[in-house]
Point group: C2
Chain length 343, copies 2
């Protein structure tokens, strides 16, 4: 098997210290390949990069309207957040609107990803709950969907086990994933994600196609079209909710608004919808590096594909070629796109 190309170089002292290999696909809404690097036909687990696809049923079912979810709440349903106070509060508010509380969440608890939020919680003498789980918004969305499906019955009983593949909630979520990617999920590998829901192995080509559909609405059912637009707009209006302080996705969408919808996933996955170009992007770093490496790739692609003014271009450049500083603030190196990515 030919190795995927080097996409990102970490430089120090004038030499390459580390390298990140990976693959990427850029596809239009008709499924035509715009460009690609590496193996885009091997199924990979998209992890949290597809949260917007998994949130489609929340809107398409009418649950978002039924519980009157606002932009911040819909953005949180697509988020991998830092566990900051506003994130946790917003997840709690979603649950309250649907008439339940945090005890309905089955994502598990972990300390906030953002270290400042973790320390703030510790300083207050508190500990982490499921609301601080980076997936709490997505799960609150699942619960809101479940509460709609359960109407007339016992909500808590209906919700139990909503993370299981065979549960009515997860069936709708997986159906949305299959409809948007056009990939047969019944015949691919299924793993368990960090938050306990199933994750299905899907090729980058199909993931990029799904995001081109999210970007344009083309090839989606009418309810999914409407849901995709509403979720993209919600994230553009409340980008802090999709990540948080200092996070790449939040910073990019705060600056570029609806022109870019991008979302990181665990193990070096990144997906994006570019509405003006009608393109979808899907990236997977071989080594699973889901911070520095795939952010550099995503920033490089945004710089190349998206219409930007001078200030925006300079902002994206700072993300595409970040400088690395040490504990004394001394610049010690940088991250750079590898030649294959610049061709």
């Amino acid at each position: 098997m030919t190795p995927n190309p080097e996409l990102v170089l970490a430089l120090r002292g004038g030499i390459t210290e580390s390298v990140h290999r990976g693959a990427l696909a850029i596809v239009d809404s008709g499924g035509a390949l715009h460009s690609a690097l590496g193996d885009i036909d091997r199924p990979i687990f998209p992890r949290s990069a597809v949260k917007v696809l998994q949130a489609l049923p929340l809107v398409a079912s009418g649950a978002a309207d039924r519980w009157q979810l606002n932009d911040e709440e819909l953005a949180l349903a697509c988020a991998s957040h830092g566990g900051e106070a506003r994130h946790a509060q917003t997840a709690a508010a979603m649950l309250a609107k649907a008439g339940v509380d945090a005890s309905a969440l089955e994502c598990g608890a972990h300390w906030p990803y953002l270290e400042e939020a973790q320390r703030a919680l510790a300083a207050a003498g508190a500990g982490p709950t499921a609301l601080h789980n980076n997936c709490s918004g997505k799960h609150a969305g699942f619960v809101c969907l479940g509460c709609l499906l359960a109407e007339g019955g016992d909500r808590r009983q209906f919700l139990r086990g909503y993370v299981q593949p065979e549960h009515a909630v997860m069936q709708q979520v997986s159906a949305a994933l299959q409809a948007t990617t056009g990939y047969d999920l019944s015949r691919t590998a299924m793993g368990t994600d960090g938050c306990s829901i199933p994750t299905f192995a899907i090729p980058l080509r199909h993931l990029a196609h799904a995001f081109a559909r999210i970007a344009t609405g083309q090839g989606l059912s009418e309810p999914h079209q409407h849901a995709a637009l509403r979720l993209r707009q919600a994230v553009a209006r409340a980008p802090y909710m999709v990540g948080g302080s200092g996070r790449f996705d939040s910073r990019v969408m705060e600056r570029l608004g609806e022109r870019v919808f991008c979302k990181v996933g665990a193990e070096g996955v990144y997906c994006a919808a570019l509405p003006e170009q009608g393109l979808g992007v899907a990236i997977k770093m071989d080594d699973g590096n889901n911070a520095r490496a795939c952010e550099v790739v995503m920033a490089q692609l945004i710089a190349r594909l998206v219409r930007l003014d001078e200030g925006e271009r300079s902002f994206i450049r700072s993300l595409a070629e970040p400088r690395l500083s040490n504990w004394n603030g001394i610049e010690v190196g940088s991250l750079q796109a590898a030649p294959a990515l610049l061709d």
Copy 2:
């Protein structure tokens, strides 16, 4: 350039989710290659994996005796620690013995690497100091050496800028690195490390040779021979100091004592001395992953090379094939040695 081989696979849902490539060299004290994978002649930055080499002058100069440093303090001089209270206190004690305090440290401050220690500090209403820097013990060792060299003069004035390559302290440190690796540091790339001291690019072959010398004493000057033995013994007696709670190096050496001296470095570097086998090991993961990937490689090599009883073998196996669990404690995957590593 031929890519380095895959060394570690991250599995989920029955498929390979991510892969880590890298190179490794195993060398005896005469410099003969025992075995190798990948490119071992390209110079790489060893980062913190060579702290034991950088600590040789502390002992060889007589500074460790002059300031009566004990095993815990000498182990901390070789450490990348988690910033736990005992680590910070021990670094402070080293400085006090030499008649200075934490203001002499030039490593910079950062929150403890160990999240529990970070939260404990925040809960106490305190912030991080240079003593919590993972390199504070190494730097306290540099300062102890500087205080010996400065005797009769103004210590604080002498110490200033000890992190600079041309300072008398760093000259001794770099000379020890050159003597043990046998590599001409004046003709290789020099970068700045996280804690501001120089890091020199050295091939894995030479790094492994240096660690074979540390393992056996062969090929070292008499003062370095003595220093290597004393530092290895100190770490074996106080392994908590070299890393901390839950850290691979501490766990391995708590269990195996003097049979293994291993030390992680940033950007996916690992070095080890195996005294019973008279071998040195040096590993570099291409992608700079310095947690899961190189730990699996190091554990695999220990399992293969070191004489272990049944209980020890089972312990090392758990590190060589760790299971991955999610936030609900559900097993979702594992790390495995790639075929190249098992050959």
